[in-house]
Amino acid sequence: MNPLNQTFRKIEYAPRAGLAYDIIARIREREIAIGKRRFWGFSALGIVSVGATIPAVMLLVSQVSQSGFLDYVSLAASPALKSSGIELASTVLSALPVTGIVAVLGALLVFAWSMRKAFVLPNPSLA
């Protein structure tokens, strides 16, 4: 070792005992605080999305009954219409209650995503 390294080591200012421990403890406190905020925040979002699912399902049911979608689907099984399969398929698709489906799927996806986020341990890099 360079003699000056040894000389300079003699004049190093050492921290008090326990500083490293305090730093680690403080970072852990922050992790826990972040974890709690994430949990409550995403749980609230999850509850909202569950709440949104109810009107979305009602919308879907209403749209299904109004569009005649189920009637077209039952016709698909009819032997008389098997020869015009492509036309029937396009008719069925056009009768799909798209808005209702999107609303229900969207609400369920938001719920699943928010529950996943709420229960994942915080990554230090996401602080």
Binding site: N2, L4, T7, F8, R9, Y13, D22, I24, I27, P124
Partner: protein, 196 residues
């Protein structure tokens, strides 16, 4: 080249391993504290700056490029954090932290013999006397010396930490050694005169 153990701690910390990050903290606390204290001269400020440094490291670890020197990266954060603390306190004992307006005589660079000077100064055993010697050099030069001899940094790392060119850092280092040797040889009643 980064220490492989250190690299593993960093990778594990990014994945969320708290014990790996704790190892990084334990490994660097003394060095970062010493550096912060040298810049601030105050125990509480140095502790606060050290703590804040590690919090910033924890928040930004994912952005760290493993091809760089982690040591230079963490010391850069420490330096910037300490500067912020001192600005908030509106007391910057080292008014030119990171700024160097000294001009270096080219002859100093040509004529100095680093190893010989290091050996001469290295014979000084009295820690108190070494501290007094260091007070004779400008603050930012003192920082270069402490990073080089206490934290075992390369000139390239020191240049990155202090935001200076590598040539400036080398010149400051050499100039400081020359100054210290002059002090040792010129000081009255210098008990170490025999080392000249």
């Amino acid at each position: 080249m980064m220490n492989p153990l250190e690299l593993q701690w960093i990778k594990d910390s990014i994945k969320g391993d708290q014990s790996a990050f704790a190892e990084l903290v334990r490994h660097y606390t003394a060095q970062i504290y010493n550096f912060c204290y040298r810049l601030t001269g105050n125990v509480q400020t140095a502790e606060d700056a050290t703590q804040e440094t590690f919090i910033k490291v924890w928040k930004n670890l994912k952005k760290f490029d493993a091809k760089q020197s982690f040591r230079a990266w963490i010391f850069t954060i420490a330096r910037n954090t300490t500067t912020d603390f001192l600005r908030k306190k509106k007391s910057i004992p080292f008014s030119n932290i990171g700024n160097n307006t000294e001009e270096f005589a080219f002859e100093d660079i040509l004529e100095s013999d680093d190893e010989h000077i290091e050996e001469t100064i290295g014979k000084v055993q009295d820690a108190h006397y070494v501290e007094k010697l260091l007070d004779e050099v400008p603050p930012d030069t003192k920082t270069v010396l402490t990073l080089y001899y206490q934290s075992d940094m390369t000139f390239d790392e020191i240049a990155r930490v202090l935001g200076k060119s590598i040539n400036t850092v080398k010149s400051q280092h050499r100039r400081a050694l020359i100054k210290l040797r002059e002090i040792l040889s010129d000081a009255p009643n210098n008990p170490y005169q025999s080392y000249e």
